[in-house]
């Protein structure tokens, strides 16, 4: 494309009821404490294997 470059194109995951796991971190458990930062969180299922929460 000449005028438009796609930086990221994967859609948000659409999930069904049985996969509504809600196992990911509560935003206020992370670094914010005073604002909701869901967009800054990672998915529990897809996140890289790490020892720590973040």
């Amino acid at each position: 494309m000449k005028h438009i470059k796609v930086v990221a194109k994967r859609p948000f995951w659409n999930i069904d009821k049985k996969h509504d796991c809600r196992e990911c971190q509560t935003p206020c458990k992370s670094a914010c404490k005073t604002s909701v930062t869901v967009g800054n969180q990672v998915c529990e299922v897809k996140k890289p294997i790490k020892r720590w929460i973040w």
């Binding site: 494309m1 438009i4 990221a8 509560t26 604002s35 869901v38 967009g39 720590w52």
Partner: protein, 467 residues
């Protein structure tokens, strides 16, 4: 019938030198030139490809190629895409803030906890209350794998004996759960032994520091009014060094309208050697320090500067500024994105006497008391209100906002503090959130141009998806 090219499904914005377009319903991000940007703006206004093409053509010359590209992206559902499927989740308890100390060894001037005691009598949580809270969490979290506990205050290290006992209690009593612990501390009471205990027990740590000595000591003071920087800095440095390879810490500051040079603050913290940094605005009725509407243009300039310098510095050193951690391919699923933080339902705070509140910021607010750890939720009507308010589409202003799938409806405690209504978004908070999301999207775009993917970008499968 609604518009096809609706402004609530795309967000065109300019950040520094870049023209970017976020497709709101998928999270797809486009880097465009000025004519294409103009075209999309006209398309939103007119809802007509022909009119947008004509107007763009008048200003920039023939726009047929742009129209073709946009039509293709629309067909591929990367622009003006349809809303995702979603449903209201069955929210259940999974996370708890143990306010173990209604007491603090500091007297920070902006503290929402009223210098640590939440406007109540100074108190420390005893082990029996903490134990009951863990049992309550376990019972309420049936079916969950991960349970989260945050030690908070006041200063939680004033009650370290309880912290030290309750972690093994939870893990030994309920070994079928994956327990995650976090502690938020000012750092003054940290010792090598305490940090080793926290590290060995996989406790993540949030260390409060507002910047360099001058910035930090403006608000973070001792009860005698003296600065705190010299007391805490070596201890915070020790923790950061100890966790240099593993991570598991954040240095987290608060900024006010008096300390709004956030680009300098964040870079100062990075230059001190910290690799995980976060900074949040104070939210208070005190207009002398709160971020007000007139502060927003200057704050935006700060974000622009910080974004630029952050990208620049990543060549030499990988470090994280929390606001810029947005995973473009993965990140949370749509269900998470439409349910906020779970305050009052998935997430509760416990005060030292065992009272339950929707979150740490509501602690001590009588009308927000939900119950206690022995009898459970007594005020079910209030909890129902929180359940409703957590769902993004129950807040009128949020339902069509372009930032809805990133802030997920914002902080209900901030709504209550500023508007006395958990359903009414705090407008300045919304503006600062939008600013940081735009900055993060810009940062991610620039990093990709350099071939840098932050750690938050996950498996190869997702990297493949964007090729």
């Amino acid at each position: 019938m609604g518009k096809v090219f609706s402004g609530s499904s795309v967000h065109p914005f300019k950040f520094n030198e870049k023209f970017l377009i976020l497709d709101v319903n998928t999270g797809s991000l486009l880097d465009v030139d000025e004519p294409a940007f103009f075209f999309v703006e006209k398309l939103i206004k007119t809802d007509s490809l022909e009119e947008a093409e004509q107007e763009t053509g008048k200003k920039f010359g023939n726009a047929a190629a742009i129209a073709e590209e946009i039509e293709r992206l629309y067909k591929d559902q990367l622009l003006f895409s349809k809303p995702p499927n979603y449903f209201e989740s069955d929210l259940r308890l999974k996370s708890m803030c143990l306010n173990v100390a209604h007491s603090c060894n500091f007297a920070c001037k902006y503290c929402f906890a009223k210098q640590g005691n939440y406007g109540e009598k100074t108190a420390l949580m005893d082990f029996n209350v903490a134990k009951q809270a863990i049992d309550f969490l376990y019972k309420g979290a049936e079916g969950r794998t991960h349970l989260e506990v945050d030690f908070f205050g006041g200063e939680p290290l004033l009650d370290f004996d309880v912290v030290k006992k309750i972690i093994p209690y939870a893990r030994k009593t309920y070994p079928n759960k994956k327990w995650r612990f976090t502690i938020t501390t000012n750092g003054a009471l940290l010792t090598k032994e305490i940090e080793e205990f926290l590290y060995d027990n996989d406790v993540s740590i949030v260390l409060s520091l507002d910047g360099d000595k001058k910035t930090n000591d403006m608000f973070r003071v001792l009860p005698n009014g003296g600065g705190t920087f010299d007391v805490i800095f070596p201890k915070i440095q020790y923790v950061a060094k100890h966790r240099e390879k593993s991570g598991g810490y954040y240095v987290r500051g608060t900024y006010t309208s008096k300390t709004m040079d956030i680009s300098k603050t964040v870079l100062d913290l990075h230059n001190f050697g910290f690799k995980y940094i976060s900074l949040e605005p104070v939210v208070t009725k005190d207009k002398s320090i709160n971020i007000e509407k007139e502060n927003l243009p200057a704050l935006r300039k700060e974000y622009e500067k910080l974004a630029e310098e952050y990208v620049e510095s990543q060549d030499k050193d990988k470090w994280h500024f929390f606001h810029f951690n947005i995973d473009l391919e993965a990140g949370p699923c749509i269900q998470k994105r439409i349910h906020g933080c779970g305050v009052g339902v998935e997430y509760l705070a416990v005060s030292p006497d065992g009272s339950l509140y929707p979150c740490h910021q509501f602690d001590g607010v009588e009308e927000m008391k939900l119950g206690n750890v022995w009898d459970g939720i007594k005020n079910k009507k209030l909890q129902e209100q929180f359940r409703k308010a957590n769902f993004l589409f129950n807040k009128k202003e949020c339902a069509t906002c372009w930032a809805r799938f990133y802030c997920s409806g914002g902080c209900l405690a901030n709504n209550y503090t500023m508007n006395h209504d958990i359903f009414k978004p705090y407008d300045i908070g919304c503006e600062t959130q939008k600013m940081r999301i735009e900055a993060a999207l810009y940062v991610q775009t620039k990093l990709r141009e350099k071939g840098i993917y932050l750690d938050t970008t996950t498996s190869e499968e997702f990297k493949d998806a964007v090729k």
